[in-house]
Amino acid sequence: MTTATQAVKKKTAAAGGKRKRQITLVLLLLPFLVMIGIFNYAPLFGWSYAFVDYTPGVSIWDCQFVGLKYFERIFFGSGDFLRVLRNTLAISLLNILFSVLPAIFAIAISQVRSKRYAKIVQTCTSIPNFISWVLVYSMVYMLLSSEASALNTILKSLGLIEESLSPLTNVDHAWAMQVGINIWKTLGYNAIIYLSAITSIDQELYQAADVDGANTFQKIIHVTVPGLLSTFFVLLLLAISNMLSNGFDQFWLLGNGMTWDKLEVFDTYVYRMGIRNMEYSLATAMGIFKSIVSIVLLSIANLGSKKLRGVSIF
């Protein structure tokens, strides 16, 4: 009898302890929920700025409601939208096109017999990824584009050119230039993931290929490449879902008055319109468009991943 009540007491005490612990856990999590609330969820209410004539300092309730005026202005008002969309998509697609390079680079490294050399190559080529865009700008400017740049000094002393080259202000090759810089910055770093995929390929497959008399090239094409395909597809899908965000830093820094026509992308346009030209409502509307399309692209990518590999990417 006493033992039974004791047991019941113990049980309720344990339940009470559990309850208390649950509350403590939620309370401990609360400050962090507040933080993401402020920095990630609260800005969503700012979407309402796109539907009013917003002036800074005036409460949203006192602003004139204008419905879809700003969306209409974006899509039909000027050629800006089409130009920005064209640039954003063109640069993203070019980057996606060249996203096979890290895989090829990884295969090339894996063919190196000397492990030490492979390691050095890998180390050196992934440094650029950890350099800020400001420094990339500084390097590009001083090596290639300024009057006294290394490129100009060398070409002039060889007598190949008379006028200084200025690749950063050349509007015709602006996309190629930016895509090239991006490859330079990310090639080695992006190869790391492929290198690990290569090491996880079953060695028996290579041995079997050896038995069948395959040479190195045949082994690469029939064993290594198929082994990398799934990694490639995951990265491809992620790149597709990120297509509208090709980054503010690179284009704000490396773009200039001469190349804006080709290098104005969504991220820089929103900043220029919103903060520099104080067109808050217009820039917000543009941001909403970008966010919604990105979520749609992500869902499509996820669906594609489920279909192709049976795994969702997030």
Partner: protein, 303 residues
């Protein structure tokens, strides 16, 4: 017959070694392209301005530290270094603490509505309100011209939480349970068990967070605009300003200035400043390499 079969592999081997040589050379060239710009900045920053206009390509020419001595002339350079270092140190500590604590709570078996809370964090990776609403919100809570804008928005990051949570879940549950039986509370278990046990993944997070903090400059441009926040700029931003100013001024006048006996040309100053900005990254890079490799792998498994 035997000679033919003996000759075949020999021929194959030779052809392969040609391909191999090409491979080695191409890889070497790529390596060169990646490293040379940094070397170029380094050697130029240690050369006299006059030799820079002539061209310095392999080794410092007319070794001089003038450019570095003149860095002090740049307005606010001292405070910018202090700000950059403090945002890197404080920001990294805050990020690692917040993300690991969140991950621990979210992995806790007694947390109610676990899935819902976890989702709330994960969604932040994909849901982006856009720059203007973010800018207005951050300004609205008084973070403009405030040092905290460098560290608070980065404190809780869903991607890091995923990485740490995955790691914490691999820690045997019995360890935590036995600590609970011994009467250790939630916070104490975090501090004395989870943190020390998850050191490997935390090292990875430290590397990523610190590099991001050191390299970020755009929040500086967005939020530090007033005259009274002139001493709150980071080194990266000062370099950006310096570069902007110099691309406006014709560089040929710099050459003329060097010829006229003015000691430091803008170019050599920029070189020195660039090198100061890149130096910390180059210093920690060899040590951090194995950590970021691990981080990418974990992210790949999950992401």
């Amino acid at each position: 017959m035997t000679t033919a079969s003996a000759a075949m592999p020999k021929k194959k081997k030779k052809r392969l070694s040609v391909a191999n040589t090409i491979n080695y050379v191409v890889l070497f060239l790529l390596m060169f392209i990646c490293v040379y710009p940094m070397w170029y900045i380094f050697i130029n920053s240690f050369s006299t301005p006059a030799s820079i206009t002539r061209g310095v390509f392999i080794l410092p020419y007319d070794f001089s530290t003038e450019a570095y001595q003149n860095l002090g002339d740049i307005t606010n350079i001292g405070s910018s270094i202090v700000v950059a270092v403090s945002r890197t140190v404080l920001g990294t500590i805050l990020t690692v603490f917040c993300c690991s604590f969140c991950a621990y709570i979210l992995a806790h078996r007694y947390l109610p509505c676990k899935k819902l809370f976890y989702r709330l964090f994960i969604v932040t990776m994909y849901l982006n309100a856009g720059f203007i609403p973010y800018y207005l919100t951050v300004s609205g809570i008084g973070l403009r011209n405030n040092f905290l804008v460098y560290i608070l928005p980065y404190a809780v990051q869903a991607y890091f939480i995923i990485l740490i949570k995955t790691y914490i879940e691999s820690i045997p549950g019995e360890l935590v349970e036995s600590a609970e039986i011994d009467g250790a509370g939630i916070v104490r278990i975090y501090w004395q068990m989870i943190l020390p046990l998850s050191k490997p993944i935390l090292a990875t997070i430290v590397v990523f967070a610190a590099v991001n903090q050191w390299n970020t400059w755009s929040d500086d441009m967005y939020f530090m605009q007033g005259r009274n926040s002139a001493n709150l700029h980071c080194l990266q931003y000062l370099l950006y300003q310096e570069l902007q100013a110099s691309s406006v001024v014709d560089t040929s006048s710099a050459g003329a200035a060097a010829g006229a006996g003015i000691k430091v040309s803008p170019t050599s100053l920029r070189m020195a400043m660039s090198f100061v900005t890149i130096f910390p990254i180059l210093c920690v890079y060899p040590f951090m390499q194995r950590y970021f490799t691990k981080g990418i792998m974990l992210g790949a498994v999950k992401g």
